[in-house]
Amino acid sequence: MKNKKAISIVLGLMCFALTLGICVQLKTVKGSNSVISQNYEENNLKAEVLRYKEKYDNKYKELEKAEKELEEERQKSIENNSYLEQKEEEIKQGNKIIGMTEVTGAGVIVTLSDSKKDASTALNVSELLVHDADVLSVINELKNAGAEAISINDQRLVPTSSIVCGGNIIEINGEKVGAPFEIKAIGLPEQLAALSRPGGYLEILKGATVGVDLKKLNSITIPKYTGVITYKYAQNSK
């Protein structure tokens, strides 16, 4: 009897270990949505990329902290000086216009996602995808409708922004951005929502079975541009 008890406890423990291992493994494989490789080299490269990303994030946090300190110093130095205060206000206004500050306001969120239609049934697979030109056209229409700030998947559009095709992704501000594209625009929502008018560009995209979604919201936050804008060649004309 005692022997049987011991056997059952041991077998239970072993089953526990085995199912635990299998479940954890399944979860890990599912979570890391890439081809499993047991190649030492590839894993090393992957780990290195992650390490650099972490380093970058840390540095960026430091930068943000430094910027905050600078802001505080500025506030201190412009106290009791109306001329400087006015200049500060001007700088803030300028930053807002070129997209160097986070902004909040009413607007719309347009989501463009690749068609869910089976690609093998389509005559032209290219029609089922969202292209850089589609994003560009939507952005253009939004700007025409008076959008004041626009971001695509949290990439803020600034005067130096470009939207180019990069194979299966598109590049915005030099950063890789993949479908679905979430385009946030701040402006008068009713006006921006005219994007979905009959005959508008969204209608054309819908006709190509591309996933289109337009939401009007009272409060949207658009992040600031994280890069640096430098002008080397443009000089102030006299």
Binding site: K4, K5, A6, I7, S8, I9, V10, L11, G12, L13, M14, C15, F16, A17, L18, T19, L20, G21, I22, C23, V24, Q25, L26, K27, T28, V29, G31, S32, I36, Q38, Y40, N43, K46, A47
Partner: protein, 123 residues
């Protein structure tokens, strides 16, 4: 009793496994080879029960020993840049198939014997 213990172990393992955080991608290959080794031991255990030479001590040491040894071999293989885990998979899966064949033969024989006896009784 044994069946209940196995069931509880499996359920607990599954629940805990679903709730644990994802392990690092690098270690998942080790875990995979350990799972294969453990599965091999389980099939080996079933075969030995059929052959009536089951020994719990050998079963337990085989279960954990094989898993740990295969992990160590995989690590060694990565250090030497030789895919030793391939050899481990070939051996384990090959043995699994052998054991499965033995189990299958045993049950098919048993079943056909039963069928034969039934027919003889009818006659």
């Amino acid at each position: 009793m044994i069946a209940i213990a196995i069931l509880i172990g499996c359920v607990l393992g599954a629940i805990l496994g679903m709730n644990t955080p994802m392990i690092s991608y690098t270690y998942s290959s080790y875990l995979a080879i350990a799972i294969i080794a453990a599965l091999d031991s389980v099939f080996g255990g079933i075969t030995s029960v059929i052959k009536k030479n089951f020994d719990l001590k050998i079963f337990i040491t085989g279960f954990f020993g094989n898993a740990i040894l295969s992990i160590l071999l995989t690590i060694l293989g990565e250090k030497l840049n030789v895919d030793i885990y391939l050899a481990a998979i070939v051996v384990f899966v090959g043995r699994m198939f052998t054991n499965l064949a033995i189990i299958r033969r045993y049950y098919v024989d048993k079943w056909s014997n039963q069928l034969k006896e039934k027919n003889e009784k009818k006659d």
